[in-house]
Protein backbone atom coordinates (compact mmCIF):
# COMPACT_ATOMS: atom_id res chain seq x y z
CA UNK A 1 0.00 0.00 0.00
CA UNK A 2 1.46 3.36 -1.04
CA UNK A 3 1.94 5.93 1.70
CA UNK A 4 0.18 9.23 1.31
CA UNK A 5 2.60 12.11 0.92
CA UNK A 6 3.64 13.90 4.08
CA UNK A 7 4.46 17.09 2.21
CA UNK A 8 1.73 19.50 1.22
CA UNK A 9 1.06 19.55 -2.50
CA UNK A 10 2.60 22.34 -4.54
CA UNK A 11 0.68 21.64 -7.72
CA UNK A 12 -1.23 24.86 -7.29
CA UNK A 13 2.02 26.84 -7.60
CA UNK A 14 2.85 25.13 -10.89
CA UNK A 15 -0.68 25.69 -12.20
CA UNK A 16 -0.61 29.33 -11.12
CA UNK A 17 2.82 29.98 -12.66
CA UNK A 18 1.81 28.29 -15.91
CA UNK A 19 -1.45 30.25 -16.05
CA UNK A 20 0.32 33.56 -15.48
CA UNK A 21 2.93 32.70 -18.12
CA UNK A 22 0.20 31.77 -20.61
CA UNK A 23 -1.81 34.92 -19.95
CA UNK A 24 1.29 37.10 -20.26
CA UNK A 25 2.29 35.38 -23.50
CA UNK A 26 -1.14 35.79 -25.06
CA UNK A 27 -1.37 39.34 -23.77
CA UNK A 28 1.97 40.35 -25.24
CA UNK A 29 1.11 38.72 -28.56
CA UNK A 30 -2.22 40.54 -28.77
CA UNK A 31 -1.08 43.92 -27.46
CA UNK A 32 2.42 44.32 -28.86
CA UNK A 33 2.10 42.29 -32.03
CA UNK A 34 3.92 39.40 -33.68
CA UNK A 35 7.39 40.86 -33.86
CA UNK A 36 7.49 42.00 -30.23
CA UNK A 37 6.20 38.57 -29.24
CA UNK A 38 9.00 36.82 -31.14
CA UNK A 39 11.59 39.15 -29.58
CA UNK A 40 10.25 38.47 -26.09
CA UNK A 41 10.22 34.72 -26.62
CA UNK A 42 13.72 34.90 -28.13
CA UNK A 43 15.03 36.65 -25.03
CA UNK A 44 13.34 34.13 -22.77
CA UNK A 45 14.70 31.16 -24.69
CA UNK A 46 18.24 32.55 -24.59
CA UNK A 47 17.89 33.13 -20.84
CA UNK A 48 16.52 29.62 -20.35
CA UNK A 49 19.34 28.11 -22.40
CA UNK A 50 21.95 30.06 -20.43
CA UNK A 51 20.51 29.02 -17.09
CA UNK A 52 20.46 25.36 -18.09
CA UNK A 53 24.01 25.69 -19.36
CA UNK A 54 25.07 27.14 -16.00
CA UNK A 55 23.33 24.21 -14.34
CA UNK A 56 25.34 21.82 -16.53
CA UNK A 57 28.60 23.57 -15.61
CA UNK A 58 27.73 23.42 -11.91
CA UNK A 59 26.40 19.86 -11.71
CA UNK A 60 28.27 18.16 -14.58
CA UNK A 61 24.95 16.48 -15.36
CA UNK A 62 24.84 16.09 -19.17
CA UNK A 63 21.03 15.94 -19.16
CA UNK A 64 21.02 19.73 -18.76
CA UNK A 65 22.52 20.05 -22.26
CA UNK A 66 19.29 18.80 -23.83
CA UNK A 67 17.26 21.87 -22.80
CA UNK A 68 20.20 24.05 -23.85
CA UNK A 69 19.97 22.60 -27.34
CA UNK A 70 16.16 22.66 -27.25
CA UNK A 71 15.96 26.33 -26.32
CA UNK A 72 18.74 27.15 -28.71
CA UNK A 73 16.75 25.44 -31.44
CA UNK A 74 13.65 27.47 -30.60
CA UNK A 75 15.74 30.64 -30.68
CA UNK A 76 17.11 29.82 -34.13
CA UNK A 77 13.66 28.87 -35.33
CA UNK A 78 12.19 32.15 -34.18
CA UNK A 79 14.91 34.12 -35.96
CA UNK A 80 14.07 32.26 -39.15
CA UNK A 81 10.36 33.01 -38.76
CA UNK A 82 11.10 36.68 -38.19
CA UNK A 83 12.93 37.02 -41.48
CA UNK A 84 10.31 37.68 -44.17
CA UNK A 85 9.94 35.05 -46.89
CA UNK A 86 12.06 32.66 -44.81
CA UNK A 87 10.11 29.81 -43.34
CA UNK A 88 11.83 26.45 -42.99
CA UNK A 89 8.73 25.22 -41.27
CA UNK A 90 9.09 21.51 -41.89
CA UNK A 91 12.70 21.28 -40.75
CA UNK A 92 11.89 23.32 -37.69
CA UNK A 93 8.91 21.18 -36.80
CA UNK A 94 10.83 17.92 -37.20
CA UNK A 95 13.67 19.29 -35.09
CA UNK A 96 11.24 20.40 -32.42
CA UNK A 97 9.55 16.98 -32.34
CA UNK A 98 12.84 15.14 -31.92
CA UNK A 99 14.25 17.49 -29.33
CA UNK A 100 10.92 17.75 -27.59
CA UNK A 101 10.72 13.97 -27.40
CA UNK A 102 14.19 13.72 -25.87
CA UNK A 103 13.36 16.47 -23.42
CA UNK A 104 10.11 14.79 -22.39
CA UNK A 105 12.00 11.53 -21.85
CA UNK A 106 14.49 13.30 -19.62
CA UNK A 107 11.71 14.97 -17.68
CA UNK A 108 9.76 11.73 -17.21
CA UNK A 109 12.85 9.85 -16.04
CA UNK A 110 13.61 12.80 -13.70
CA UNK A 111 17.20 13.02 -14.86
CA UNK A 112 17.24 16.77 -14.38
CA UNK A 113 14.83 16.95 -11.51
CA UNK A 114 15.92 18.86 -8.46
CA UNK A 115 15.14 16.37 -5.68
CA UNK A 116 14.25 18.83 -2.93
CA UNK A 117 10.75 17.49 -2.38
CA UNK A 118 11.86 13.86 -2.59
CA UNK A 119 14.47 14.45 0.11
CA UNK A 120 11.99 16.12 2.46
CA UNK A 121 9.38 13.44 1.78
CA UNK A 122 11.80 10.56 2.38
CA UNK A 123 12.97 12.21 5.59
CA UNK A 124 9.38 12.45 6.81
CA UNK A 125 8.24 8.91 5.94
CA UNK A 126 9.71 7.17 9.05
CA UNK A 127 8.41 9.88 11.41
CA UNK A 128 5.32 8.73 13.26
CA UNK A 129 4.74 11.46 15.82
CA UNK A 130 3.27 14.92 15.34
CA UNK A 131 4.34 16.61 18.55
CA UNK A 132 5.84 19.64 16.77
CA UNK A 133 8.76 20.90 18.89
CA UNK A 134 10.31 22.97 16.12
CA UNK A 135 13.50 24.76 17.10
CA UNK A 136 15.75 26.76 14.77
CA UNK A 137 19.06 25.15 15.68
CA UNK A 138 21.06 22.28 14.26
CA UNK A 139 20.55 18.72 15.50
CA UNK A 140 23.49 16.38 16.15
CA UNK A 141 22.42 13.40 14.05
CA UNK A 142 25.15 10.94 14.91
CA UNK A 143 28.30 9.81 13.15
CA UNK A 144 29.47 8.05 10.03
CA UNK A 145 32.71 6.64 8.81
CA UNK A 146 34.25 8.08 5.65
CA UNK A 147 37.48 9.31 4.16
CA UNK A 148 37.93 12.74 2.67
CA UNK A 149 38.01 11.29 -0.83
CA UNK A 150 34.83 9.27 -0.26
CA UNK A 151 33.04 12.37 0.96
CA UNK A 152 34.26 14.38 -2.02
CA UNK A 153 33.03 11.74 -4.45
CA UNK A 154 29.73 11.52 -2.60
CA UNK A 155 29.13 15.28 -2.77
CA UNK A 156 29.84 15.25 -6.51
CA UNK A 157 27.25 12.51 -6.93
CA UNK A 158 24.73 14.38 -4.78
CA UNK A 159 25.15 17.53 -6.84
CA UNK A 160 25.05 15.77 -10.19
CA UNK A 161 21.75 14.08 -9.34
CA UNK A 162 20.12 17.20 -7.94
CA UNK A 163 19.86 15.98 -4.36
CA UNK A 164 21.62 18.87 -2.61
CA UNK A 165 24.00 21.75 -3.22
CA UNK A 166 27.38 21.27 -1.52
CA UNK A 167 29.35 24.01 0.23
CA UNK A 168 32.79 23.29 1.62
CA UNK A 169 34.10 24.92 4.78
CA UNK A 170 37.55 24.25 6.16
CA UNK A 171 36.39 21.48 8.52
CA UNK A 172 33.14 20.30 7.05
CA UNK A 173 30.96 19.78 4.02
CA UNK A 174 27.51 21.31 4.04
CA UNK A 175 24.87 19.76 1.78
CA UNK A 176 22.19 22.40 1.34
CA UNK A 177 18.72 21.16 0.47
CA UNK A 178 17.46 24.06 -1.61
CA UNK A 179 14.03 24.29 -3.20
CA UNK A 180 15.69 24.81 -6.56
CA UNK A 181 19.06 24.72 -8.25
CA UNK A 182 18.53 27.82 -10.35
CA UNK A 183 18.11 30.43 -7.64
CA UNK A 184 21.46 29.69 -5.95
CA UNK A 185 23.08 29.66 -9.39
CA UNK A 186 21.88 33.17 -10.09
CA UNK A 187 21.87 34.64 -6.57
CA UNK A 188 24.70 33.28 -4.48
CA UNK A 189 23.86 33.00 -0.77
CA UNK A 190 26.63 33.86 1.64
CA UNK A 191 25.33 31.91 4.58
CA UNK A 192 24.17 28.36 3.88
CA UNK A 193 23.21 28.03 7.55
CA UNK A 194 19.95 29.79 6.79
CA UNK A 195 18.80 26.84 4.69
CA UNK A 196 17.93 23.26 5.44
CA UNK A 197 21.17 21.32 5.35
CA UNK A 198 23.08 18.24 6.43
CA UNK A 199 26.74 18.59 7.38
CA UNK A 200 29.52 16.06 7.48
CA UNK A 201 32.51 17.26 9.45
CA UNK A 202 36.12 16.12 9.42
CA UNK A 203 35.58 13.95 12.53
CA UNK A 204 32.70 11.99 11.07
CA UNK A 205 29.97 13.88 12.88
CA UNK A 206 26.74 14.63 11.11
CA UNK A 207 24.39 17.45 11.95
CA UNK A 208 21.09 18.49 10.47
CA UNK A 209 19.29 21.81 10.26
CA UNK A 210 15.71 22.19 9.05
CA UNK A 211 14.34 25.69 8.54
CA UNK A 212 10.91 26.72 9.71
CA UNK A 213 9.93 27.47 6.12
CA UNK A 214 10.65 23.88 5.07
CA UNK A 215 9.10 22.45 8.23
CA UNK A 216 5.84 24.22 7.41
CA UNK A 217 5.69 22.44 4.07
CA UNK A 218 4.62 19.26 5.81
CA UNK A 219 0.95 18.45 6.23
CA UNK A 220 1.41 17.74 9.94
CA UNK A 221 3.60 19.19 12.67
CA UNK A 222 5.94 16.22 12.69
CA UNK A 223 7.93 15.53 15.85
CA UNK A 224 10.88 17.69 15.10
CA UNK A 225 13.76 15.77 16.63
CA UNK A 226 12.58 12.59 14.88
CA UNK A 227 12.41 14.45 11.58
CA UNK A 228 15.95 15.80 11.99
CA UNK A 229 17.28 12.37 12.94
CA UNK A 230 15.49 10.83 9.96
CA UNK A 231 17.02 13.37 7.56
CA UNK A 232 20.44 12.64 9.01
CA UNK A 233 19.83 8.88 8.63
CA UNK A 234 18.70 9.37 5.04
CA UNK A 235 21.96 11.00 4.06
CA UNK A 236 23.94 8.48 6.08
CA UNK A 237 22.20 5.72 4.07
CA UNK A 238 22.95 7.56 0.83
CA UNK A 239 26.60 7.82 1.81
CA UNK A 240 26.78 4.13 2.69
CA UNK A 241 25.18 3.14 -0.60
CA UNK A 242 27.61 5.36 -2.47
CA UNK A 243 30.58 3.87 -0.61
CA UNK A 244 29.34 0.41 -1.60
CA UNK A 245 29.04 1.42 -5.25
CA UNK A 246 25.24 1.17 -5.17
CA UNK A 247 24.44 4.68 -6.35
CA UNK A 248 21.55 3.42 -8.47
CA UNK A 249 19.69 2.44 -5.33
CA UNK A 250 19.79 6.05 -4.17
CA UNK A 251 18.08 7.19 -7.36
CA UNK A 252 15.64 4.27 -7.24
CA UNK A 253 14.68 5.18 -3.69
CA UNK A 254 13.77 8.68 -4.76
CA UNK A 255 12.03 7.49 -7.88
CA UNK A 256 9.75 5.25 -5.81
CA UNK A 257 8.02 8.43 -4.72
CA UNK A 258 5.42 8.97 -7.40
CA UNK A 259 3.61 12.23 -8.18
CA UNK A 260 5.78 14.20 -5.82
CA UNK A 261 4.87 17.67 -7.03
Amino acid sequence: MENTNKLKSSVWIIVLAASVALILTIGIRLILGREAFYIMVSILTVAAALIHFLAFIKTKNPSFLIPVIFYGFIFVGLQLFMIPQRQETLAFVIGMIILGGVLIYILITRRMKWRYREVLELAARPVSGSANGFTPRPYPAGEASYTKEELKAFTKFILKHGIALPHSDTDRTVLVINPSLFRPLLFKKKDPQRDTYVTFDADGRISVNITEKDYKKYREELTFDQLCQSLGNLFKDFLTLHQQGQEKKIIERMNTLKFIL
Binding site: N132, T135, R172, Q193, T199, F224, D225, Q226
Partner: protein, 198 residues
Protein backbone atom coordinates in the same frame (compact mmCIF):
# COMPACT_ATOMS: atom_id res chain seq x y z
CA UNK B 1 34.95 40.30 56.22
CA UNK B 2 31.88 40.18 54.01
CA UNK B 3 32.13 41.29 50.42
CA UNK B 4 29.63 44.14 50.73
CA UNK B 5 31.70 45.68 53.55
CA UNK B 6 34.90 45.22 51.56
CA UNK B 7 33.43 46.92 48.53
CA UNK B 8 32.32 49.89 50.69
CA UNK B 9 35.85 50.09 52.09
CA UNK B 10 37.16 49.97 48.54
CA UNK B 11 34.94 52.91 47.67
CA UNK B 12 36.44 54.91 50.56
CA UNK B 13 40.02 54.02 49.68
CA UNK B 14 39.52 54.84 46.01
CA UNK B 15 38.83 58.53 46.72
CA UNK B 16 41.68 60.66 45.45
CA UNK B 17 41.84 62.55 48.78
CA UNK B 18 41.85 59.35 50.89
CA UNK B 19 45.63 59.31 51.30
CA UNK B 20 45.70 62.90 52.56
CA UNK B 21 42.82 62.17 54.89
CA UNK B 22 44.63 59.23 56.49
CA UNK B 23 47.74 61.41 56.85
CA UNK B 24 45.64 63.85 58.88
CA UNK B 25 44.07 61.09 61.00
CA UNK B 26 47.51 59.65 61.81
CA UNK B 27 48.97 63.09 62.63
CA UNK B 28 46.10 64.48 64.70
CA UNK B 29 44.86 63.11 67.99
CA UNK B 30 41.37 63.72 66.76
CA UNK B 31 39.85 65.94 64.12
CA UNK B 32 36.46 67.32 63.16
CA UNK B 33 34.94 67.24 59.70
CA UNK B 34 35.20 71.04 59.32
CA UNK B 35 38.87 71.05 60.37
CA UNK B 36 39.66 68.25 57.91
CA UNK B 37 37.68 69.97 55.16
CA UNK B 38 39.56 73.27 55.63
CA UNK B 39 42.95 71.47 55.77
CA UNK B 40 42.27 69.44 52.65
CA UNK B 41 40.34 72.09 50.78
CA UNK B 42 37.25 69.90 50.53
CA UNK B 43 33.57 70.63 51.00
CA UNK B 44 32.52 69.92 54.56
CA UNK B 45 29.90 67.39 53.40
CA UNK B 46 32.56 65.47 51.53
CA UNK B 47 34.77 65.34 54.60
CA UNK B 48 31.80 64.38 56.76
CA UNK B 49 30.83 61.49 54.44
CA UNK B 50 34.39 60.20 54.31
CA UNK B 51 34.77 60.21 58.07
CA UNK B 52 31.37 58.60 58.61
CA UNK B 53 32.33 55.91 56.12
CA UNK B 54 35.56 55.27 58.05
CA UNK B 55 33.59 55.10 61.28
CA UNK B 56 31.28 52.47 59.76
CA UNK B 57 34.37 50.43 58.85
CA UNK B 58 35.75 50.77 62.41
CA UNK B 59 38.77 52.67 61.16
CA UNK B 60 37.94 55.71 63.35
CA UNK B 61 35.80 56.26 66.42
CA UNK B 62 33.36 59.16 66.56
CA UNK B 63 32.84 61.15 69.76
CA UNK B 64 30.25 63.87 70.34
CA UNK B 65 31.71 67.06 71.67
CA UNK B 66 29.87 69.97 73.36
CA UNK B 67 31.41 73.41 73.04
CA UNK B 68 30.05 76.95 72.82
CA UNK B 69 28.29 76.22 69.56
CA UNK B 70 26.01 73.29 68.95
CA UNK B 71 27.48 69.81 69.48
CA UNK B 72 29.63 68.25 66.79
CA UNK B 73 31.72 65.12 66.26
CA UNK B 74 35.40 64.55 66.48
CA UNK B 75 37.05 61.54 64.86
CA UNK B 76 40.00 59.59 66.22
CA UNK B 77 41.95 56.86 64.41
CA UNK B 78 41.33 53.40 65.88
CA UNK B 79 43.61 51.23 63.76
CA UNK B 80 47.16 51.68 62.57
CA UNK B 81 46.76 49.06 59.80
CA UNK B 82 44.07 47.98 57.35
CA UNK B 83 43.98 44.48 55.89
CA UNK B 84 41.68 43.32 53.15
CA UNK B 85 41.32 39.60 52.51
CA UNK B 86 38.77 38.12 50.08
CA UNK B 87 38.26 34.42 49.57
CA UNK B 88 37.07 34.33 45.96
CA UNK B 89 36.23 30.61 46.09
CA UNK B 90 33.45 31.52 48.50
CA UNK B 91 31.56 32.85 45.47
CA UNK B 92 31.19 29.36 44.04
CA UNK B 93 27.78 27.89 44.94
CA UNK B 94 29.03 24.39 45.63
CA UNK B 95 25.80 22.74 46.76
CA UNK B 96 23.72 24.35 44.06
CA UNK B 97 26.37 23.37 41.50
CA UNK B 98 26.20 19.68 42.37
CA UNK B 99 22.40 19.70 42.34
CA UNK B 100 22.30 21.22 38.89
CA UNK B 101 24.46 18.45 37.46
CA UNK B 102 21.62 16.08 38.28
CA UNK B 103 18.96 18.20 36.64
CA UNK B 104 17.16 16.56 33.75
CA UNK B 105 16.64 19.21 31.14
CA UNK B 106 15.68 19.91 27.56
CA UNK B 107 14.89 22.97 25.49
CA UNK B 108 11.50 24.42 26.32
CA UNK B 109 8.90 24.24 23.58
CA UNK B 110 8.01 27.58 21.94
CA UNK B 111 10.40 29.47 24.18
CA UNK B 112 10.98 31.95 21.36
CA UNK B 113 14.72 31.69 21.85
CA UNK B 114 17.02 31.75 18.85
CA UNK B 115 20.17 29.69 19.17
CA UNK B 116 22.67 31.13 16.70
CA UNK B 117 25.33 28.72 15.55
CA UNK B 118 29.00 29.53 15.24
CA UNK B 119 30.52 29.50 11.77
CA UNK B 120 31.99 26.08 12.51
CA UNK B 121 28.44 24.86 12.97
CA UNK B 122 29.03 22.37 15.77
CA UNK B 123 28.36 24.76 18.64
CA UNK B 124 26.09 27.61 19.57
CA UNK B 125 27.62 31.11 19.53
CA UNK B 126 24.83 33.06 21.21
CA UNK B 127 21.29 32.79 22.46
CA UNK B 128 18.79 35.53 21.63
CA UNK B 129 15.69 35.71 23.78
CA UNK B 130 13.05 38.13 24.93
CA UNK B 131 12.12 39.30 28.41
CA UNK B 132 9.15 41.30 29.56
CA UNK B 133 5.79 41.85 27.92
CA UNK B 134 4.21 44.50 25.75
CA UNK B 135 6.15 47.76 25.86
CA UNK B 136 8.57 46.34 28.41
CA UNK B 137 9.61 43.61 26.01
CA UNK B 138 13.36 43.59 25.41
CA UNK B 139 15.68 41.42 23.39
CA UNK B 140 18.61 39.97 25.32
CA UNK B 141 21.65 38.39 23.81
CA UNK B 142 23.61 35.84 25.75
CA UNK B 143 27.06 35.36 24.23
CA UNK B 144 28.38 32.00 25.33
CA UNK B 145 31.85 30.55 25.70
CA UNK B 146 33.04 27.72 23.47
CA UNK B 147 32.28 25.04 26.09
CA UNK B 148 28.87 26.48 26.81
CA UNK B 149 28.21 26.58 23.08
CA UNK B 150 29.16 22.93 22.64
CA UNK B 151 26.90 22.02 25.56
CA UNK B 152 23.97 23.93 24.11
CA UNK B 153 24.50 22.26 20.75
CA UNK B 154 23.81 18.94 22.49
CA UNK B 155 20.87 20.25 24.51
CA UNK B 156 17.89 17.92 23.88
CA UNK B 157 15.24 19.29 21.56
CA UNK B 158 11.78 20.11 22.98
CA UNK B 159 10.35 16.77 21.89
CA UNK B 160 13.27 14.63 23.02
CA UNK B 161 13.36 12.98 26.45
CA UNK B 162 14.91 15.04 29.23
CA UNK B 163 18.54 14.25 29.89
CA UNK B 164 20.75 14.80 32.91
CA UNK B 165 23.16 17.71 32.67
CA UNK B 166 26.13 15.51 33.47
CA UNK B 167 25.07 13.10 30.75
CA UNK B 168 24.96 15.89 28.21
CA UNK B 169 28.36 17.12 29.39
CA UNK B 170 29.76 13.63 28.89
CA UNK B 171 28.21 13.31 25.43
CA UNK B 172 29.57 16.70 24.44
CA UNK B 173 33.00 15.70 25.76
CA UNK B 174 33.39 18.86 27.82
CA UNK B 175 36.40 18.94 30.16
CA UNK B 176 35.91 19.08 33.94
CA UNK B 177 37.46 22.57 34.11
CA UNK B 178 34.62 24.00 32.07
CA UNK B 179 31.75 22.37 33.94
CA UNK B 180 31.14 25.31 36.33
CA UNK B 181 30.60 27.73 33.45
CA UNK B 182 28.27 25.24 31.77
CA UNK B 183 26.25 24.98 34.98
CA UNK B 184 26.17 28.76 35.11
CA UNK B 185 24.63 29.06 31.64
CA UNK B 186 22.03 26.44 32.57
CA UNK B 187 21.02 28.64 35.51
CA UNK B 188 20.59 31.62 33.22
CA UNK B 189 18.56 29.66 30.68
CA UNK B 190 16.37 28.13 33.36
CA UNK B 191 15.78 31.48 35.01
CA UNK B 192 14.65 32.89 31.67
CA UNK B 193 12.44 29.87 30.95
CA UNK B 194 14.33 28.76 27.88
CA UNK B 195 14.91 25.27 29.22
CA UNK B 196 12.69 23.07 31.32
CA UNK B 197 13.44 20.54 34.03
CA UNK B 198 11.81 17.16 34.34
Amino acid sequence: MDFQKISRLGAILSKDYAGNFFRLLVTYQDISASEAASRLNLHIKTAQDFLDGCEEQNIVVKTEVFEKKRPYYRYKLLKSELEIRIDLTAFAEKDAFENKLMWKIREKKNSGALFKTASAGNRIASVHYFTGKGRERKERILNVTKSQGIFLYHLPFPTEPHREVQEIIKKAQIGALYVPEVVDVISVLHRNQLIEKA
